[in-house]
Symmetry: D2
Subunit: 353 residues, 4 copies
């Protein structure tokens, strides 16, 4: 960002050799007010960014380095931590103390209740920060985001679930009981680690549910839906693996509060809620979204149908898991935290086909 003196905001990316790291670099390449100064990767220390990721044309000057707290604090104003949970909580306090703004893409600061976090993950070593961390869904927490020092960037599945549901729960249009979230994700969500389960031949021409009744995004979704509804919510959440690179589609089933409610009623609530949200698009009645319409973009598209036969509201949302579900949303949050235009470097449309 341009500070008073016209200098660019200096950005460090910790854990830059995973898919969310590459995606941050891709997005930030075009950012007019940002300069990426440090990219760390233990494994690839010393390698040029362009060598490891030939897709990143124009980063020939930048090399991965081993993470070094002093260097980062010296060279950066903002740090993105794109490391696994548990690793993040170990480094975030240091960055904050040094005065950096932190945008954490791990799960470590998303859950407000320490006990809930520790039940689904493991012990938390920096619980004092849980209260301060702002949950980075700008469409819902925009004001808090603007003044945040530590931002917990939401999970991909939660983003795709909370955006369509929260406004309806707030408005009391749907019942808080019996919400079912059936989500389908592209394979980049599984990360860039070598593993047999995500080999091309294991995923291609396949389709499966995984972590049935047991996925760690469940408490994150429940926390935010409960906040929206003002009451405790338990959901069924089932993720599935789709043979495609990017994209999440969530099909959500819930019960209408008013059995006479129409699709138009639901649309109106959503339209109004997102009237000024640059990245959420509520589709015309009778239209449902395709992940291919948001590929590579920061948009979330939402369709809805009130099924009068069964009294059920069906919501369908799509995002690109690496953009609105991770790195794009992180940049959107950074823009807001730095007082910049929310959409900077995120204006590109989707890549289709």
């Amino acid at each position: 960002m341009q500070t008073d003196t016209g200098k660019k905001t200096r950005v460090a990316i910790v854990g830059a050799s995973g898919y969310t790291g590459v995606e941050l670099l891709r997005i930030l390449k075009l950012h007019p007010a940002v300069e990426v100064t440090v990219v760390t990767s233990r494994q690839n220390s010393g390698t040029r960014v362009e060598e490891l990721f030939p897709s990143l044309h124009g980063y020939s000057h930048l090399k991965f380095t081993a993470p070094d707290m002093d260097e980062i604090c010296r060279e950066a104003d903002v740090v993105f931590t794109a490391v696994p949970h548990q690793t993040a909580m170990a480094v975030v306090p240091g960055f904050l103390e040094a005065g950096l703004k932190v945008i954490d893409l791990s799960a470590d600061f998303r859950i407000r209740e320490q006990a809930v976090y520790e039940k689904w993950y493991q012990e938390h070593s920096a619980p004092q920060l849980l209260n301060e961390a702002v949950y980075g869904l700008p469409e819902i927490y925009g004001e808090q985001v603007a003044s945040a020092r530590l931002l917990a960037n939401p999970g991909c599945y939660p983003t795709s679930t909370i955006l369509p549901l929260a406004p309806l729960l707030k408005a009391g249009a749907v019942k808080p009981e019996n919400i079912i979230v059936d989500s389908k994700s592209g394979t980049s969500g599984a990360g860039r680690g070598a593993s047999v389960a995500t080999l091309f031949c294991e995923v291609n021409e396949g389709f499966k549910a995984y972590k049935v009744g047991d996925h760690r995004h469940t408490p994150e979704i429940e926390q935010e839906l409960s906040a929206a509804a003002g009451t405790d919510i338990k959901i069924n959440f089932t993720p599935h693996l789709v043979p495609m690179n990017r994209g999440i589609l969530s099909t959500i089933y819930c019960k209408l509060s008013d059995s006479d409610a129409t699709t138009a009623n639901i649309h109106n609530i959503l339209y109004e809620f997102y009237a000024n949200a640059p990245f959420v698009r509520v589709l015309p009645e009778g239209t449902f979204p395709n992940v291919s319409s948001v590929r590579g973009s920061n948009y979330c598209d939402i369709g809805a149908k009130a099924d009068r036969r069964t009294g059920t509201l069906i919501l369908v949302s799509v995002i690109d898991n690496l953009v609105k579900g991770a790195s794009g949303q992180a940049v959107q949050n950074m823009n807001i935290m730095c007082g910049l235009e929310e959409t900077l470097s995120l204006e590109a449309g989707a890549l289709f086909p």
Copy 2:
């Protein structure tokens, strides 16, 4: 099949140039008791089968012909009608009158109530046959199948839904209300007609729901679930299109009758019900199926989890939509109708990877 005189059963396939037609030919190639004598295709009349479908090695002698009722009745003992609904009802009565056994892969004889059929499809021109037609899920209607003259081969989505649910509804283990069926299908389910919506570039790297709250397989599923439960059932059914050739995975959410029921209880009911079913495999507890494990085979794999947090039972089933969801099941039915071993020419395992 071998008749008394040792002759093979002569088989005709009407509408043989679609994906279910090719699949019938692939499966029947190895059938020891069957000879395919007629394959019809208006569009490809005169073309050698092997020319249109080079995958069908070994059919060099066979040519597509324009459908000719007299020829078929003369040359075949059994006829598979693999034509669109409405076309099937126009030809099936003639075949029956001529004494052929008919296995209809369209929707025309699956719905027992004429009014229901006509609400979801269009006017029915042969309603007198609706009562006689046997719904061809051999795991449930095996005896009726054995003596059927007209067999209505089930839809792909219904097969994937009824197999896991029917035994549990029969046993009263799940409640008949609030059943949600979220299904995901490979693209071959959309058929082989030229259309922009199923072009490679439109489907690949995409994922969408379609016909939300409005798919014609809904009444077929409801009919069979209601029969199993002994009470009228309405479901939510949402199909999705997956960028893969073959396979359906259905994720089914329903409420446990006994909130203390365990996954093991559910498994036991399913194991027992399918103890002698050669093509249904109930997976060990904690295991969920992948469509890639049934690709090209006639198997249906089922996983289950009783989610105590929400009182919900989650069932996941997979089939190959062209095999157990269409042509394989049709051959299974034919085997039973002709007094042959149920598994003949269907013993092949899945093609993985």
Copy 3:
């Protein structure tokens, strides 16, 4: 572009509902000096752009119209003709007479010799323009592009072939005889028309050569290689269809003029030739390109190896067929023709994964 009076260049796209049309709209969305005023599509006249292509967020104001020469000439300064060959030659002369700059994405003005064009395509109705048209490879014809009124935007296969070969032929480093071009293209190259051959299930998990020894890009490649070599060149060109949306990789085999030449010698010629070309990247020795490194971007990446065992030079080049192979290159040409920065709206890196 900003003219003296600060107004934007008004752009029309004729034939905007195919994949190259969508891609032009995607790229131009972010162009700071361009306004798209007319998009035509006979078939989709009256439809909003965003309705037909939900990926094109932010075009909600624009509707497809039936092509109307008068309207286009009134509303546009530059016109992209993204229609099939033979259709282009019918409309281009009218646009030129009305004073518009024309960038033609069809093949109609790429071949300089009328007889050659008519041998591979059909009769030419505007042969008087063949001499004037500039072949739009800016890396080779940059100066002519700058002053062009009618620009023939190159074919995708030719772009991927000429860029690696032309500098080497010019330098005399490879022999003009026995050049073999084995190209592999994603499926978007086949266009957006409904056809069985490009259905998802026909392409996915398949791979084939097509138009073996008979593809219409052959004379276009030969024309440009001959120009570079200063002698008549005949090549072998074999295209293949790859189950992916975008991308062309060409593997080129040719004979080294000097049998002692090393890979380094070849690299030096290429590095030097493309030293100032913003979109051509010659990879380090020992490195070969992947189409996934240019997906969605205007880059061409090139790798080379001098195989001393056989005296053969192997060149491997990749482009995104819809970007550098079509719409991106068209915008690059437009930028140059309008006196704008060559890279405007084309700076985005590749989308990976």
Copy 4:
């Protein structure tokens, strides 16, 4: 196989948890004369076959064991070694001494010249067997296969290259110089080991050449083409990775000996050579093969075109790399070695779509 006493041939598979191992199990499931008694996998010792590979329905009795020479020699008549090169040469001599027939799917016994093997691979510890080993292309070495004790099952790329070329070189129809083999393989050829390079997201929507001028199948191809031509042959061989599970397509460029030769002349030589080969199909003139036409089958389809413009013969061949390129060919060889019908358990057609 049925021995005199009617007993089945007992088969062991060493290294059964890779893709060629699974494929052997899939194919042998239906073999009427074979019983699989031992399947070894160091990594998965103790795991049920059906648990690791749910696609292998019907193997519920079989468990992976750690490889144990004594057990294998006691329990098997024939052993398939599906282990990496260098591992194979360590175990094969022991099996032979114990009187087993050995079909080795590694590269260890394919190269006749020890020096050539050691140049491309590493030191050979059992060179005394190189002369005895029979190169298992039954279409060419059928008689030797029948009496082989140690069979070297060919590589996938070599199979796809030698089948179309060898008859033409034998007949003197093409020149031995300047042969170029441009091959494209599905990803299963890279094996089932965890690696970043073969992750779904790295391969999908990508396409690349690899080991340019440096692939280890080069000497194997050259050995067999030289044998066919009766003169020393050097080729250019470039493999490429295709985003699909199975299949190899090789496009081969060579010079016609007689510049007046027609495509028909070439076809006649191939037709005649393969007149009695059950798994090689020479396509009609003007027709070229697609890997999807052989998926899951043991066929090799070949197309040819004599390009008079350039005096070049273009051959296109396809196989399934896991079947005719590995496990299917291995079973074909086993059938012949055991005096069984060559086609046993290999009669299935291709799975399309």
